[in-house]
């Protein structure tokens, strides 16, 4: 409130007291001096509280935005230094299999890690999706409420099991079995795929359950009323309506598989070798980062090259995000 407004208000109050138009309110008893115009026109205690509270919540959201900005910024700067400071050719980085960054800028090729990362991700999603959809269908279309709730809690529990525990199981159960069947060391893409399969299965399943539950009940009833069998209803109505959200679920699973570090690192073998079959040791982006970043010195080419791998991971996670958004938009139409 400006000074002029305050003056005006003072005038109004004075006038009212003088003229005493409102008979039943005895303003004269109050007296002019008792009325504190300043106090009346100041923001109230409640307003101050509101400013504070709103300020605090803005501050919190600001912290998160700053955080994401700085993560992208920091990883970006270090990851791009390989190309701008050490003059590694971007095309060579993406297409060469020669990974030995300590020997100079001509030996920085990440193709092995890129191929292996994509292979384990795609294969595990490919194996997990049919199982996940089947379990989700069972929970929403077949099982009783009690059985569905029991499966749900088991799946929640599996999401919560730490990734190192899965890695340890892979190391002690999966790798020896593969070694016994296919020979070799047992480490490799197959072991990685199997471990990731178990890890992404609960993620994809619970999101698919949400997708199926979102299909309105009267769709099913309408289909049944037309004389469709249970399976016809599921295949032609329920799954069709839920497809965009199921795809989103699969992509979320793939994002988890792509970014998983320790469980994969424990069973993949960690040799930077092109994977010509599924049972020879190889190396993913995350496993290379996990094992090597402690062995390099900040600012050297070897270190910057690893940051470029981290940048690649970041870019891929942004890409998965955009993909989910695009499918969501298409599904909403």
């Amino acid at each position: 409130m400006s000074k002029k407004d305050t003056e005006n208000l003072k005038d109004v109050v004075n006038q009212a007291i003088d003229s005493q138009q409102v008979v039943h309110v005895k303003l004269k008893d109050i007296g002019q001096k008792d009325i504190d115009i300043d106090k009346l026109t100041r923001p109230s205690k409640e307003t101050h509280q509101e400013y504070w509270g709103r300020g605090l919540s803005y501050l919190a959201i600001g912290v998160i935005i700053l955080l994401v900005g700085s993560i992208i910024g920091f990883v970006g700067i270090h990851g791009l230094a390989t190309f701008f400071h050490d003059h590694v050719n971007l095309w060579q980085f993406l297409s060469s299999t020669d990974w030995d960054p300590t020997s100079g800028p001509n030996h920085v090729g990440a193709l092995v890690m890129i191929v292996t990362s994509f292979l384990v991700t795609l294969l595990s999603a490919l194996v997990a999706t049919p199982f996940a959809v089947a379990v989700a269908l069972f929970m929403t279309e077949y099982a009783s409420k009690k059985a569905a709730r029991f499966l749900q809690s088991i799946i929640e529990l599996l999401v919560g099991i730490p990734s190192v525990v899965y890695g340890f199981l892979g190391l002690t159960l999966v790798v020896p079995v593969i070694r016994a069947i296919f020979g070799g060391t047992g480490f490799g893409i197959l072991a990685g795929t199997l471990v990731l399969f178990v890890m992404v299965l609960p993620t994809i399943t619970s999101l698919t359950v949400d997708a199926l539950n979102a299909v309105p009940k009267h769709f099913r009833q309408a289909s049944a009323a037309l004389g469709a069998t249970h399976w016809q209803t599921i295949a032609r109505v329920v799954l069709k309506v839920a497809t965009p959200r199921i795809l989103t679920a699969v992509i979320f699973g793939m994002a988890r598989a792509f970014g998983e570090a320790l469980a994969v690192q424990m069973v993949i073998g960690n040799a930077v070798l092109m994977p010509y079959n599924l049972v020879t040791p190889s190396s993913t982006l995350t496993s290379q980062l996990t094992t090597q970043i402690g062995n390099t010195v900040m600012g050297t080419l070897a270190n910057n090259a690893l940051w470029s791998l981290a940048l690649l991971l970041l870019v891929m996670s942004l890409f998965f995000n955009i993909l989910v958004r695009m499918i969501g938009k298409k599904g909403a139409k």
């Binding site: 998160i64 994401v68 089947a134 269908l137 929640e156 919560g160 399976w231 996990t290 940051w307 996670s317």
Partner: protein, 295 residues
């Protein structure tokens, strides 16, 4: 094949796949618990770990995990609560809010190893904290914030609009309505969210190996001075957690009973996760009953 035969066939396939998954899940849980529990003794929980001999325990790792969990929750809860209040109560439906939501989604989908490396770059190297509990707790905060924020936002949104209107009609400020009515009403959901994210923090390793470090230091549990380097409360000492311990003894360790140690530690982690899951549901329900007088 007639439609009815197809129906029966499809149902059979679904039951078959579900059967495989159930056997698999039961096998995994059973394997972890059966192999781990026999090694899980009081001695194991209360003795120091060993670097090259068999028979070590996980006392320090267990304490470090709990300590990191507490610190991370203390740091991340106020921020997540504030951000969730902003998103559910103050944010208007415009492009800025959309941008903020995408930011949080991006943060939640970042690979945890990238978050860990960022923590390494910023806290360990740039700020000079070194491998320490503080660096680890801050990195875990980043890891925890997006999930916690969206959990809390969900439960705030679950509070009905009439409760807010009632508060405003009493002449309370918007903030007082939120603090005095909306947040208490959403408390059961918030607690569930905090406990479940606690389970995630407890088992996280990739974020920690380059922030809290992979080695322990000499810890004295009778030294209550947080500034002393040997005190168990000191936040500047390097700290290996249970999950990192499993990773380390399997990849770099040379102790002969690595499998037994990791099986026991794995069982311990899974037990803690089960306890967290059950207690989240229990406390959430109990609190809800108490606050709403519902039976």
């Amino acid at each position: 094949m007639t439609e009815h035969q197809k129906d029966r066939f499809a149902t059979g396939v679904i039951y078959f796949l579900v059967g495989i998954v159930v056997i698999l899940l039961a096998g995994i849980l059973g394997n972890i618990l059966i192999n781990g529990l026999p090694h899980l003794s009081w001695h194991f929980l209360t003795s120091e770990s060993s670097d090259f001999q068999a028979g070590g325990g996980v006392r320090d790792q267990l304490f470090n995990s709990v300590y990191l969990l507490i610190l991370t929750t203390i740091i991340s809860l106020p921020i997540a609560l504030g951000a969730a209040i902003y998103l559910s109560e103050y944010a208007r439906d415009n492009w800025i809010t959309h941008l903020i939501r995408s930011t949080i989604e991006i943060l939640s989908s970042l690979p945890s190893i990238v978050v860990g490396l960022f923590g390494y770059l910023l806290f360990v190297v740039q700020f000079g904290f070194g491998f320490s509990i503080l660096s680890g707790a801050l990195a875990l905060t980043f890891f925890n914030l997006p999930i916690l924020t969206s959990n809390i936002e969900e439960s705030l949104k679950g509070v009905s609009a009439t409760q807010r209107e009632a508060g405003l009609a009493l002449g309370l400020s918007n903030w007082k309505t939120i603090r005095g009515i909306v947040v208490p009403a959403a408390l059961p959901g918030i607690i569930t969210g905090v406990v479940l994210s606690g389970g995630r923090i407890f088992g996280e390793a990739a974020t920690l190996i380059y922030t809290a470090g992979q080695s322990g230091s000499l810890v004295d549990y009778h030294n209550w001075n947080p500034l002393s380097p040997t005190s168990f409360l000191n936040v500047m000492r390097p700290a290996e957690t249970l999950a990192v311990h499993i990773w380390k003894v399997n990849t770099e360790g040379i102790i002969s009973d690595a499998t037994a140690v990791s099986a026991a530690t794995g069982a311990l982690l899974v037990l803690v996760v089960i306890i967290f899951n059950l207690s989240a549901r229990y406390f959430g329900n109990k609190l809800y009953q108490k606050l709403t007088a519902a039976k």
